[in-house]
Subunit: 237 residues, 2 copies
């Protein structure tokens, strides 16, 4: 009786951690969308909201961490249960980083506001952001369903975001070369694009962590990488 | 007799983790210096070495992680010992990220090589990189000595790197505006500067983790932040 009582309290602790991760995920997802909307529309109030939300996200990570450590110390879990908790710590850290990237984008609103973001530039960034939002949303769904197979599928799709980032990078460079007055705005947009591309990387990290939590193994093979924006150079000649 | 034998095996495991973290730190530190040298001198062979070193660093993180989890499961540590192992996991993750940032810088060698990095631009980047290297080296020394006081001192010094990054960001923007032929090279240098600034952030994270490992607490107050480069805009008018 006592033992089943303890077991159930333990299950409650794991459930609590899971719920908190889902909440963090929901907030991080919303922040990313808000940050790009704030930037594109020059909406300082929305940018400020993203910056405040990041404080909530930071506290959530710290709370999950404390809770997870207390659970490990109290319950001394083994194997799958231990992986579950270690995985929770890693996912919380990734979501916290996603929030930081959203905040960084939001902060740039002040920089581009006066200049305004030309519609044709905004479109590419919005598209990239939508793709990252889908990736983040889906990986959070997989977190709830714990399918190693789906986690692996999401992990392999990071390629798409990388390719779109590379194309946006090239496009923004050409706008800068066309007109020096675009340089500051486009530089900030380049960093925002990079932030969004990295949100995709964190979604991929989360997919790998779910795979590990479910199977105890690390996914086979390098994830496909098409980050040629790091080496784009020829178009500047 | 048996119990002291177990205790000593446990100490050996902790010592092993500590040694592996120091090795990771040494490699990450070297990679960062090499990456900037490779970039500034257009040295593709050195860039390739940094990219290969990153694979070693990734494997080291994974190995530390597996080892740490086995240790938690086998030894079921409490309080300070548990913090030690959780802290180890976090530091390994930060060092792995430092390696990624070094690799990202090294990859840009291909992009700027044909153009060459003007001496006056390289100087600012080298200076920033030296500062980050000192920060990283000192935090690794503090990891060995476990002084919460020194960890806190390093954490507060991140400000200096942020200020220098902001100044370099402004400088690079002006070079881009002066001559559109600088745009591609300077864009890559901006990203490299951002990478180095983020290496400073990871050194700060490590300092916070050491503080936590030593005291069980999180350092008081927000760390000073002077990342106004995110909001620099006026100079583009």
């Amino acid at each position: 009786m006592v033992s089943s009582h303890i077991l159930s309290a333990y299950d409650e602790e794991l459930k609590y951690l899971r719920r908190r991760i889902s909440e963090m995920g929901g907030l991080a997802e919303q922040m990313c969308g808000d940050a790009v909307r704030a930037l594109v529309n020059g909406d300082s109030a929305l940018a400020q909201k993203v910056i405040s939300d990041d404080v909530i996200l930071d506290h959530a990570e710290r709370e999950i961490q404390d809770k997870a450590i207390v659970t490990i110390a109290k319950r001394q879990p083994m194997a799958a249960d231990l992986r579950e908790i270690i995985g929770t710590l890693r996912i919380a850290a990734d979501l916290e980083r996603v929030g930081d990237l959203g905040k960084n984008t939001a902060k740039r609103v002040i920089a581009v506001q006066g200049h305004g973001v030309p519609r044709k530039l905004a479109r590419g960034l919005e598209h990239l952001s939508d793709l990252a939002a889908v990736q983040l949303k889906e990986v959070l769904d997989v977190y709830a369903s714990r399918s190693a197979e789906k986690a692996e599928a999401i992990r392999l799709r990071d390629e798409e975001i990388d390719a779109m980032y590379t194309s946006l990078f090239r496009e923004l460079l050409t706008y800068m070369m066309e007109d020096p007055r675009n340089i500051t705005t486009c530089t900030h947009l380049l960093f925002c694009a990079k932030n969004i591309e990295r949100i995709g990387d964190h979604a991929t990290n989360i997919a790998e962590t779910i795979y590990y939590m479910t199977t105890g193994a690390v996914p086979e093979g390098e994830r496909p990488k098409d980050d040629t924006a790091n080496t784009v150079g020829a178009i500047a000649d």
